[in-house]
Symmetry: D2
Subunit: 307 residues, 4 copies
């Protein structure tokens, strides 16, 4: 199985974890979800992310779902696994297991108690020691982690930790950060930059030098279109399509509720059987469902206008 | 001069503070800005908010700009003044001064060290004691203040503090919160709810029962249109116009950079003479300016399509 | 095996997790540590706490050390196990396992993202649903968790969640909170209150109505003496002994370094073989070791003066 | 009037702000307080600090109390004034005013929104630009500000900002930080290090290379004794005296309540007329007063034993 490298690009979809209404993992929906993402043009998958409800799973369930997805993907695209944990022992154990089963790499977010640049660099050096030669994605998501990683700190990590091959860029929206990272001389080697935030800044992020997206908007085809049209130089077409999806993409950017929106849309599209989340997740209210339904209808109308 | 009441509605624009390139307050631009906001259909103004760079002003400068705006508005619309301060003595002094000069009410955000519901309720009770019978706006903006105010806590404040007449709702996006506040029985009296967040959830907020917006998007005419079309029941027209402005409204939602975007657009529109912010504010980069220019051109095109 | 109840009192020592210099768990030291704590007069033990380096263990290691301690204790005193985890599934699984093996109850700290009173009450109601009839300790430690739990919120939890039998009180130092909780009418039933913070406020905490301590100061005999002398009404003797240990107890209250101090003392006293902590824990510097050595010598001198 | 320099040493007492029971500033007590501090051996004073309730004063009141203290001190010792404010304009205005009136320097804490090392260094560079050649104290107090300043960041500030002459070290307790700062090669010039935290780590801080204390424990004579005995090499005597005061010094370390304890002791000692704090400060309860009274009596007894 090929490993994640600095050349990663396109759209790595952050997979949800499908549950049944009773809270059990829905493996059948896991399979259909994989096929949907790959059919939509995903160039990779990322599992056990924050939006994959990873913290709500037991270690056994985490192992189960990763194995199921890896088996279903069967090498068609690289799969990245989130292994963030409070301690290095857990990071090490989970990494060894998933790499053994065929993952392409892992993703590591900084623990919330890191404050200074030295602490952040030190954390990633230690983490890298524990996972050996496994390539990893540095998750830069201050709004969720509370940790601000400056450009100069990223540069120090890239210089000192050769197994860091990709940045999941989610420093809302941090367009200047992408420009600074792509400025010759900032980093001592080029890494992949894939952007998060549900894709709501994707056209500008691509324009600044990103290689694609790593996020889970319920219409991954939007992100695939933006990346592809951008690659062929048709920026206006990329932006027209983006604008058509934006009202719904924006609606997904609701802390605490965003995942309920995403799963509701995926269930309505037939991708997963049930929009259920595990507690303490709160399902979408009837009013929220009506709002999403209206946005979906408007989006369809606008897309058909655009052709 | 009329005072702010529970019936406040429409669009209260959060005014920027215009500076000259050398950092001095630009009083001429302050005047033209007032005329622009009122010409765009603002039903009120809010000054000395976070986006008005209030914390960067000396007490003398704060007094100067409030006086200038009040004089220029000359009673045409109510003016709310932000008086949030670390201590009640400052809140009291500033409130007395601006009310004396003709303000319609004040706005108070919770200090960042409040944690429990009791602390929040206690804070507003004490603040109200200090400002006497002045009507005030409760600013609920957790992302900026770090303070989460639950629905039941708002209900306690409304019950115990009769001078609280309006909620500046900015709990991103907090649609369910509006529904809960509007549910009969939640509050013991109806208050005005005006929404922030740059207007990027305004159609849904109006649908949930908001009375309008209190925010500073550089195109206040968008917010005026949404509120007016909503009032006359033309929800699709409201949403069509909203969608046309959304790509730029979204672009303004960049923590740290949003005000630079807003001031750049206002300067480009001729509302203020210079987009300068006081340090530590960072101006928009050349790339950022190009991105905004492109979004403005696309927006104009889309608006003319819509007619 | 008896279960933890509202009558818990005395000193529940927060056990460290002994490691060898190479980072492996030291089971022999685990045994000697248990004997030391019980010999010093502990009326209970608490394992897998924050100061037990729980987050640095793999699930397998956690299970191993809990089993070893339960086997060694063999029912002589009740053992409480920390089961705090990001999701309820993990809380449930770990609780079922340790209760099955003979634990007396579990301890649950609130996740750091809880902000409002309603969220906190809701969290404990859900957690209690997941662990069934297992009695649990509510850990109130704002400095570590970032969550402030008000007296009225504790009252709501006690009223709604009958399996909450004990408060680990660690709201530095929160003396007024103990008084408020003990005031007739505040809670609808009496629960056990055991205090943390390394024991540095223990005389006053006992005076306010606490039932004892649940913390891990390297000289548990100090806490046992204070509790016992307090019980027999000899407050001055309790305070004299407390004062003799205070310089060292204070020295242990160093965020980030406190555990290194504690383990260094325990190793020097022969309780555990090695003061090693798992990364990212930092060992005590040579200067720090000298400071501790000096404080130990001064403490010994003062204790012999007191007789 | 002499200016603060890198050679500052001894005990700079953080002055409280005396209020009357009705909340007005008590200027008579301000005078007696100054005489008390100087009589106790203070080598300097610091006014308008966090523990001076500075944020609760109006700008006019701040000016009034600074002027009164400067006039009373009349050049006998250097006076440092806290000028921390949300914006540079306020920092600049207040600094100019107090330096003009005879202050020796100012103290600046970082605003709570700074996260990365670059942001912190940039903030102090800009602040220094605004205050010209005024010497200033860098306040490093993470527990209160939320900002962690690493040793390498302090080194960058010292290198880039020549007017930074003193560190108020309050990174609880941060003994290793003092050692690192005093290690040859860490800083490019020697600065003064004065320690906070109510003096509860003063013997160890002096041993690590601190120049004294800058804090407001209600018995400044303890800090003077520790510094003086340390200077003459009598470390055991320094520690014996420290230990006698420690139970009360510890009791003052209660977030939210510490100032109430301090003012209660000062009033009981006759230094100020009334222990009143401005709202939202909460006065010491009757139980708290009894606890303090008991600690004062025990302290007196122990001091007379020591002779």
């Amino acid at each position: 199985m090929s490993r994640l490298t600095e050349t990663a690009k396109g759209v790595y979809v952050i997979a949800v974890t499908p549950f049944r209404a009773d809270g059990a993992i829905d493996l059948t929906s896991t399979d259909s979800m994989v096929e949907f993402y790959l059919g939509a043009g995903a160039t990779g998958l990322t599992v056990l992310g924050i939006m994959g409800e990873a913290p709500k799973l037991t270690p056994e369930e985490s192992a189960l779902i990763v194995k199921r997805i890896l088996d279903r993907v069967a090498g068609r695209v690289p799969v990245v696994v989130g292994v963030s944990a409070p301690g290095f022992a857990q990071v090490q154990t989970l990494t060894a297991k998933v790499m053994d089963e065929g993952a392409a790499g892992v993703m590591i977010a900084p623990p919330g108690n890191l404050r200074t640049d030295d602490q952040i660099v030190g954390y990633y050096q230690q983490a890298a020691d524990f996972i050996g030669d496994t390539p990893f994605v540095l998750q830069d998501f201050p709004l969720a982690t509370g940790v601000q990683i400056s450009v100069s700190t990223i540069a120090r990590i890239i210089e000192n930790v050769p197994t860091c091959v990709c940045l999941k860029h989610e420093d809302w929206p941090g367009l200047e950060k992408i420009s600074a990272l792509r400025k010759p001389g900032t980093l001592n080697r080029r890494i992949s930059i894939l952007c998060g935030n549900g894709g709501v800044f994707l056209p500008e992020e691509m324009g600044r030098g990103a290689d694609g997206a790593m996020t889970g908007f319920a219409y991954p085809e939007m992100m695939v279109s933006v990346v592809e049209n951008h690659a062929r130089g048709d920026f206006e077409r990329a932006h027209d399509l983006f604008d058509a999806y934006l009202p719904l993409a924006r609606f997904e950017q609701q802390p605490g509720l965003g995942l309920a929106v995403r799963k509701y849309v995926l269930a309505k599209r037939g991708v997963i059987a049930d929009p259920a989340m595990r507690r303490p997740g709160v399902p979408l209210s009837a009013t929220g469902q009506a709002e999403v339904g209206r946005l979906m209808a408007r989006q369809e109308r606008r897309l058909s206008e655009l052709g």
